[in-house]
Symmetry: C2
Subunit: 269 residues, 2 copies
């Protein structure tokens, strides 16, 4: 298994790979959206998980960011640093899982990088598009807005499959005042949204995944549901409201809530 043999396989799935860069021709009157997400062995997944699921999830995490902006995914770059234990079968299954989700969401594989490392490391960049000036931002929440989430919460231990909320995100564009995806826990991510918007928030209730605790729903990471605020009624589960106050201040059920959540830079060992 050599670099060129892997690239030859991938070219069957991509009309782009072959030059130093992927070439993208923008359409008129659109903005482009870029996001990139690591998936690292022993941090985001373990090697005993199915390779196809790891590939699916690596792309899904970036697609969730495109959904949070109200965008439509167009291209992805997939960078892969192989570990000593990865073999041809693993690589094939990884790309099959990733390309299945790419196909169902209209995301073309446009390139990437190949390397090696002690821990299997994946970085997926997605380029999406949206009508000019229509991207959903974190910074637009207004006092009086209702706060919504797109589904029940509880963190990664209760949610094996990420479903990027692309359809919902597109519906919210032009309606919601603010939006982001919940990747590091509701409390920390809502704190960030409120800080960007210069507002405070009161959470009244949180919808729970089966088996999840309120603590997990508030502070665990990897939910990948959308968190958004709107003055008009929009699809989703209302959980509270935005008010004037110290930027980023939160309450839950009337009590002050600490913005604790998952910190990606911290080693757990």
């Amino acid at each position: 298994m050599t670099e060129d043999s892997i690239l030859s396989k991938l070219r069957r799935h991509s009309r782009f790979i072959g030059d130093d860069c992927a070439i993208v021709r923008p359409r008129a009157n659109e903005d482009l959206l870029f996001t990139t997400d690591f998936s690292i062995e022993s941090v985001h997944f373990t090697r005993d998980q199915k390779a196809a699921d790891i590939g699916y999830r690596a792309l899904a995490r970036s697609l969730s960011d495109i959904a949070a902006m109200g965008g439509r995914p167009r291209y992805c770059l997939v960078s892969l640093a192989l570990a000593p234990w990865t073999d041809t079968r693993w690589i094939d299954a990884f790309y099959s899982g990733l390309l299945k989700l790419a196909g169902s969401t209209g995301t073309a594989l446009a390139g990437g990088d190949l390397s090696h490392s002690g821990q299997l490391t994946i970085d997926v960049m997605v380029c999406g598009s949206i009508a000019r000036g229509k991207a959903l931002r974190r910074s637009g929440a207004k006092a009086g807005d209702t706060i919504y989430v797109s589904g029940p919460l509880g963190g990664w231990t209760h949610k094996p499959l990420i479903v990027p909320r692309l359809d919902l995100g597109r519906k919210l564009a032009g309606k919601a005042h603010s939006c982001m995806d919940i990747s590091d826990g509701l409390a920390l991510d809502l704190h960030r949204l409120c800080r960007e918007s210069g507002v405070a928030a009161d959470i009244e209730t949180v919808p729970l995944l089966p088996g999840a605790s309120v603590e997990q729903a508030l502070h665990d990471g990897e939910d990948y549901e959308l968190l958004y605020t709107a003055a008009e009624q929009v699809p989703g589960i209302p959980i509270g409201s935005i008010r004037k106050g110290r930027a980023g201040a939160l309450t839950f059920a009337g009590k002050r809530l600490q913005p604790r959540g998952y910190d990606h830079t911290q080693h757990s060992s």
Copy 2:
């Protein structure tokens, strides 16, 4: 040092970081170019190298790809998985080196991702732009073209500093028939260019960096000079010519040359 404290620092250097995606507004009549390159501890650098040099080099590798297409860099996404040994001082120095090169080449820091890993891992995505349809490709080499390189070769052991050939790349756009950067060794990369173009090549001479052997110049990686072919005279060092023949076949000084080079997927241990 928390994720949010690192992001707060970076926001001083970027008007983008803060949403789930960076938003890029394309200009009329341009194509966009995307490339991504890993820089991994013990593979692309060692931890005893200066953090500022590691940051500079991580961006320079991707800028070299933009140069190879004749483009102008516009934005970068910098993904960083911190190792247990990296501290605040290291991170500051890393970004200072990277941002210095970003500033001097007009590349705006637009976002990225933060995580952690056993080996320090960096992935830099660069988005560049070029007039519509003018990107230099690998696939345009024609029999009779002169083959050029942009500087003397010899691989990473003889070249501590990468200078992305952005000015030269832009001059070659519209003049050269084909172009790529030499990252995996002249022989392997010229083989790839010829394969894409359906032609063969004869190398007559290779310009050497001080102290480098012909073997290193042909088969060592990490040169980051441009390799290009043109029918008209263009700036650079002529090293041979393109001819009809089996796609990808090479000779050096009249003898058959194997397309050996650096393979990024192979563990050296």
